[in-house]
């Protein structure tokens, strides 16, 4: 059973190598099959953790502290499941047309390496493995950004610098934790680390991961990297890559570092600023992929907004469940949004909102996917985005954290504002105010229509399974 864990990390690597060895025309087939198998392993991990509890695997039979351990608890399993769903859906989208993967070759091996890096982070039981996996994730994500059109190399270089500085801060933090505890095992380090030794590595790790997750004010690299990427890369970047570094700081926060209210408050306040400022910037954008990219900055803010609430005794299980729900909702909805935006861009040649007027007439399925995704991103009732915000609200109200309530409400209004404009453009018949005609859309392959719809339906439909998600995330701790 526990052999599933190394399979989850290694299968994507093997797929990546197989893709590298093949010519570009054969890569989609092998990448798709490898992605299918990896997604099946990911699903199996979720099922196994749900039914049997925590999984732990010692590589080559060596137990920690000497050997390398992989571990999947409920928190890890939730993110493994997200990667399987979004990763596979994006690969289906990418297989639909070569244009989705950019002008240069390399999408398939890089996407599978990204997948593997994510698995390494989610399943790592020791600090150093987590760091190495984070580097694998960062470097392959940089490669994927570089596949884009004009301006992509500069965005990729900027992202490389951000990614490397972030992981160097983490590496220093890991060195300090080791110096204080003489172990790299996360649980052991967590038991031994005192508040006195823990604050400096916590500040370093939080800064590094905040940088990589594009927490305001360290967010400026994100829009060019996410919006300038090829259609099949943007969803992976926004839905998954950003979650890798967020998961790591959440994991360290829960398992390794002693409680620190000051850092929690700073992260929470920055998150609050991100929700508002990201939303305002998204409102100011005129291009669909930019709107979606700035929306990521806003949504990342919600994730960090959880830290002050995570610290409150008695509320931690509820908040972990809430932040996981928020991360999954964002992942599914944002992947839907970016695949839809990519398909529209390939069909019309533009992603300017005014160029998409009336697109819903010929692209009804695709538009439906975008609407479902927006329902969850805004947080309308029944959707996963709603239940996540609701869980935040409950804890915030119980503990009198009124500023968080205010941020949640303002963020919801802003999201409605910046998402309704592109949707309105798609749905209305022709533009009556400006001199723009109806969008001409080249016919889209079925996969480009149905993938956004499937992802959007998941983002909304998963809201019905909140109790199962809460049960899953509570496995293994608390």
């Amino acid at each position: 059973m526990s052999a599933l864990l190394p399979a989850a990390v290694l299968l994507p690597v093997i797929t990546a190598l197989a893709c590298l060895a093949l010519p570009r025309r054969a890569q989609p087939i092998s990448g798709f099959l490898g992605g299918l198998a990896s997604a099946a392993v990911n699903a199996a991990v979720v099922v196994a953790v749900t039914s049997h509890g925590v999984l732990e695997h010692h590589m080559a039979g060596w137990a920690p502290p000497l050997g390398i351990a992989l571990r999947a608890d409920g928190l890890a399993a939730a993110f493994v499941g997200l990667t399987g769903a979004v990763g596979f859906a994006t690969l289906v989208f990418a297989a639909s047309a070569e244009a989705t993967t950019g002008r240069r070759t390399g999408f398939w091996p890089l996407a599978m390496l990204t997948w593997s890096g994510l698995m390494g982070i989610f399943l790592a039981a020791d600090l150093f493995n987590a760091y190495v996996a984070l580097e694998v994730l960062g470097l392959s994500a940089v490669g994927m950004v570089a596949l884009g059109g004009r301006g992509a190399p500069r965005a990729a270089l900027r992202y490389l610098i951000v990614a490397v500085v972030g992981s160097m801060l983490l590496l220093t933090a890991i060195g300090l934790v080791y110096a204080a505890t003489s172990t790299l095992d996360m649980d052991l380090a967590g038991q031994r680390l005192t508040a006195e030794d823990g604050w400096l590595p916590l500040v370093l790790a939080a800064t590094g991961m905040g940088l990589k997750t594009a927490l305001v004010p360290m967010h400026a690299w994100l829009p060019p990297a996410h919006a300038g990427s090829p259609p099949a890369v943007s969803p992976l970047m926004s839905a998954l890559v950003v979650k890798g570094s967020f998961y790591l700081i959440l994991r360290l926060w829960l398992d390794v570092f002693p409680r620190n209210d000051a850092v929690a408050l700073v992260l929470g306040v920055l998150g609050a600023v991100a929700v508002i400022w990201g939303g305002v910037l998204a409102l100011a954008q005129r291009r669909l992929k930019r709107i979606v990219a700035y929306s990521t900055i806003s949504q990342v803010g919600y994730l960090f907004l959880a830290f002050p609430l995570l610290n409150l005794p008695g509320h931690q299980p509820a908040m972990v469940s809430a932040v996981v729900a928020m991360a999954l909702a964002h992942g599914l909805a944002k992947a839907a949004m970016f695949t839809a935006a990519g398909a529209l861009m390939l069909g019309t040649g533009t992603d300017h909102v005014d160029g998409l007027v009336g697109a819903a007439r010929s692209e009804g399925v695709l538009t439906a996917g975008m609407i479902l995704s927006a329902v969850s991103l805004i947080g309308l009732p029944m959707s996963l985005g709603f239940t996540a915000k609701w869980q935040y609200l409950e804890v915030a109200l119980q503990t009198g954290a009124w500023w968080i309530v205010l941020v949640l409400l303002t963020g919801t209004l802003l999201a409605a504002g910046y998402l309704l404009r592109p949707l309105a453009a798609l749905i209305r018949d022709s533009d009556t105010h400006e001199e723009v005609g109806q969008a001409e859309i080249g016919p889209r392959p079925a996969a480009q229509r149905w993938v956004p719809l499937a992802l959007g339906a998941m983002a909304v439909g998963a809201g019905l399974f909140t109790t199962d998600l809460t049960a899953l995330t509570s496995i293994g701790w608390g």
């Binding site: 150093f128 580097e135 004009r150 301006g151 490389l160 500085v165 220093t172 060195g175 080791y178 110096a179």
Partner: protein
């Protein structure tokens, strides 16, 4: 006077180097200079690890192993960075010549 051991000297040199490199990284425009600053940030971080390792007697091999892996990663990201610097150069050269019409809107979006 504070007694300065080799370990703490290495540690503080590493911290200073990392700090200086980060400042340079944020302030310099030239891409190659930025990449060198990034490389130095990595080098400084590894010095910190080596300094931490040297604080015990005998020297702790685990942080040294971390530094060794760190060196490999530093080489990898510097290589990727160099390729990207070349790609930036190829990407932006045509736009400075006569033709600026076709792709103008992509550039403006970055502003």
């Amino acid at each position: 006077m504070i007694e300065l051991s080799v370990a703490s000297l290495t540690l503080w040199t590493g911290a200073l180097l990392t700090g200086l490199a980060l400042v340079r990284l944020l302030t310099v425009e030239d891409l190659i200079a930025r990449l060198i600053a990034l490389n130095l940030t990595g080098g400084g971080t590894l010095l910190i690890l080596v300094g931490l390792a040297a604080r015990t007697e005998p020297v702790d091999p685990v942080p040294q192993a971390l530094a060794l892996t760190g060196i490999v990663i530093t080489v990898a990201f510097t290589g990727v960075g160099l390729i990207l610097v070349r790609a930036v150069d190829d990407d932006e050269r045509p736009s400075r010549s006569a033709d600026g019409r076709a792709h103008g809107h992509d550039e403006e979006a970055n502003a």
